[in-house]
Assembly symmetry: C2
Homo-oligomer: 530 residues x 2
């Protein structure tokens, strides 16, 4: 498969503009061939028209057909072979093992949603049967299922060029729901995006689906992305990226004649709370684990531990020293883009020049766009008075807030913004302290964890990768795991609707064999005559 530098508009590819940009070698900053042609407004219009016209068909193919389609996307991605991994390594600076693992995860996510489709519970099929004899008034037959929202705009993330980009979690969950998807490719990995986009395009053709089920748009600027969110045919947006960009998309979506939901995963500093007994028992060990989590993927995880809260003590010093020692020995890693590297350096500089912040450790230096890890410390009073210390520094840098006691630590926790994750390190003797913090942790984060770090994100049924604003724009959802499909659904009721015109999920004969709620009680029966 070759990279042409073209947007994919349904089954076609498009290069109708001379407004070009290039992928960049993350290691050297050199532009990569070929030139990428930004999509035109006409191409945007055509992608939206195709998506809208594909919607009614695509949302009503059988669950099995949609499951097979998701699996076909995975197979087409596998078929690209090493070309995909090599291009992605060049564009992102991420190492081979990481990207091979991410490809496995990407295909795994598609399979997860294929299973969600075959299970069918996501349809939330409900039947309140008619009660013709009810007094004073008879009751109608009322049935409900969830249907797809409509065409969805997905903005690929820079930091997961496979698992949260063109065929990533947002795309997989939106397609599973029955929504056509138009991806605005991230400029940081356009070649990777085109390769994966062509894999989806092939799967659409192979499965005989309407071409409008998928399009991929390139743009070196913001016009196409903004136009996509503003288009009246788009009914929801999935986004992972910076807070500024996420807020800009929310603003466009809210200003539309018909406002639409934006699922933006934006920024988090993922506090790590070190409780006293755990710290005393194994401060140095936790410090080493922390440093490993902090530098994973050059610190470019949404769940990177950017803040540490602990009661000031000798045990905290042991943690700090152990973490510092590991960081000093950690090789610098190339960042995703020169721009991300520049922002990282500015963020570190901001901490470094803050009057009340002490630098504890530096990692090794490396190539021109490599991130030098660092660790800082401050106290609770300074953290309370300097709002900039609450801001995410995207990369392998963290700030320790030394608190005078546990009640101060609790106040610091209450002062932070919404988070994706909060980790607590505890021993049995810390139980009551953890219990006292728990209501605050639940209010502040989508996932709370004990004796671990948030950087491992399982793709399962119980995962929440989400959290209160500004971690995400919508704390009621998750972007990872099977519940991500719920973001792209809405319920519809059918009253006294003729059985043969009902959607399959609600017909008397229950062709999907769903576990349906009948008068609120779930039951699974074949040929359920209600």
């Amino acid at each position: 498969m070759t990279i042409a530098g073209h947007s994919l508009i349904g089954a076609a590819s498009a290069s109708n503009t001379n407004d070009v940009f290039n992928g960049v070698n993350a290691r050297t900053g050199e532009p990569l061939a070929p030139d990428f042609h930004g999509a035109t407004l006409d191409e945007l219009e055509r992608a939206c028209a195709l998506a809208d016209s594909a919607f009614d068909t695509f949302r009503e193919i059988t669950l099995e057909e949609r499951a097979v389609f998701l699996e076909a996307i995975g197979q087409e991605i596998e078929k690209i072979g090493d070309t995909l991994i090599e291009r992605c390594m060049t564009e992102t600076g991420l190492p081979r093992t990481r990207l091979e693992g991410e490809r496995t995860r990407t295909i795994g996510q598609l399979k997860l949603f294929a299973n969600v489709l075959r299970n069918g519970d996501f349809l939330d099929a409900r039947i309140d049967p008619a009660l013709p004899e009810r007094k004073p008034l008879p009751r109608v037959d009322l049935r409900q299922r969830s249907i797809a929202l409509g065409p969805v705009a997905v903005f690929g993330a820079s930091n997961f060029p496979l698992a949260f980009s063109v065929a990533g979690g947002d795309t997989a969950s939106a397609l599973a729901a029955g929504c056509p998807v138009i991806v605005k490719a991230h400029c940081a990995h356009p070649g990777t995006s085109e390769l994966v986009g062509r894999a989806i395009q092939s799967a659409v053709a192979r499965c005989g689906l309407p071409e409008g089920v998928f399009s991929l748009l390139f743009d070196g600027g913001v016009v196409i992305g903004q136009g996509l969110v503003a288009d009246k045919r788009i009914k929801a947006v999935g986004f992972t990226g910076s807070r500024a960009a996420g807020l800009a998309l929310m603003k466009i979506a809210n200003a539309r004649e018909e406002p639409i939901p934006v699922y933006a995963e934006m920024s988090a500093i993922n506090p790590v709370v070190l409780l006293p007994h755990a710290l005393a028992a194994r401060g140095a060990q936790i410090g080493r684990q922390f440093a490993a989590s902090l530098t994973l993927g050059a610190g470019q995880f949404c769940t990177n531990p950017g803040l540490v809260l602990a009661v000031d003590s000798d045990a905290l010093r042991a943690f700090e020293q152990a973490a510092s020692a590991v960081l000093s020995d950690t090789a610098a890693q190339t960042m995703l883009t020169p721009g991300i590297h520049a922002n990282y350096c500015m963020g570190v500089q901001r901490l470094d020049t803050s009057e009340h912040v002490e630098r504890l450790a530096n990692g090794a230096t490396g190539g021109r766009y490599d991130a030098q890890a660092s660790l800082f410390a401050t106290n609770a009073a300074a953290f309370a008075s300097e709002p900039s210390l609450h801001e995410e520094v995207f990369g392998p840098t963290s700030l320790i807030v030394r608190c005078s006691d546990l009640s101060v630590l609790h106040e610091v926790l209450k002062s932070i913004e919404g988070q994706l994750t909060i980790s607590v390190h505890m021993d049995a003797a810390d139980r009551d302290a953890c219990g006292a913090l728990t209501p605050t942790l639940e209010r502040k984060a989508g996932r709370i964890l004990v004796n671990g770090f948030g950087t491992g994100v399982e793709v399962g049924h119980a995962m929440v990768h989400g959290g209160p604003f500004p971690a995400t724009s919508d704390a009621r959802t998750t972007s990872v795991g099977s519940r991500a499909i719920e973001r792209f659904l809405r319920p519809v009721s059918y009253q006294d609707w003729p059985n043969d015109l009902l959607p399959r999920a609600l017909r008397n004969e229950n062709p999907y064999g769903l576990a349906r709620r009948v008068d609120g009680v779930r039951r699974r029966e074949e040929n359920q005559d209600v």
Copy 2:
């Protein structure tokens, strides 16, 4: 129980202002005693502080305790006795039988959510058990449940002074979710609001709950309502009312430092589609049924049929004549407020003076604030060219759009805004026509129904009282029925969390006996050791 004209701030009542307003006799327009004291900003602040401090306790009482609390509210409302019905009749002009039925529904809604709590499925408890032997990496133990969003602001509706006001559907579902509620009372029925508010206050005390679980604020203007939505401790808003007011609340909510969801049910014209064979077979009969639905509750239902679409024909004339005959004989009914009456008259006037609209029928005239029913007709071209014809006229008035054929009718349907309901009247021979329209109906409405009218709204498990914008601000939800609780929940994941610190829903011993999803598969077991 006497009416003091006071806001209820937790367990206290407040009258710290001379800024007063009065309830109004809907029939005469005369002010009613006593004076109602608008809440002060200090009282708003105190209500929010109490709600926030009650939240962590209230959200974690047992499901049974919360169910008993909801039932206690119903019992306290019953205890008010006829005082409630009589005050409400005076304030709203609605007849006794309607209000007694609405009281039954209100108490029924509270019981429904008590059952939802005892069932526990709303918690969506999930467990992905640890896999310590998994390669290449072990899997952590991950559990998920839904928790309450936080304190909720509820704006009572004028047209359901019991079932969608102080202890109505929004309040019941928010309290069921575990959210403290602050109600901004509707000025159209302040005495009714205080009586019901005091019933909730009594239930809070009787159940030994923190007083901040409920407050009720009066205001003759908009300052308190706006301040409530803007307050950082409020985490969601439930609203039923006009489009202008709903949009204003959405704007405030989106402009907050932390944006919050607004569930606004705003406006709908609930199209009625008359298919040719049904119309030919029983046009006159449908016309009579339609007129009855149109004038129910003086046309002041959110689901009132404000638009009729049919292919022009003799059968349509029979429908029109039958509906007109019933309307001409229908006694005028008092509207909820003089303001609503004035707006209704303006809306009718707008239709009456439109060049392309023909008046078919007038109802009887009556008292000063009584609504005179009316029926109008136009054609598809005029409907397409005059946007004002798409606007809701709140009251017993409807507009028939005569279409030249079914494809024109389909185009008209595609041109309308989002709706709460769309009704189709059909016979067996209309099956294909109905099937062809169905995808459009599903896109446009939250509930679609055959051979009936949307004005009956069952409170069950399969009901969607919602729909695409501007019917509501959020098509992903319903404000009536058991799924309404989902609006006030968000998922939280617990990773490797100690069993004795887990919420009850997720503990190994499964004390609630929930049907939990284990690795995505739902199972119900007592003492589930996972």
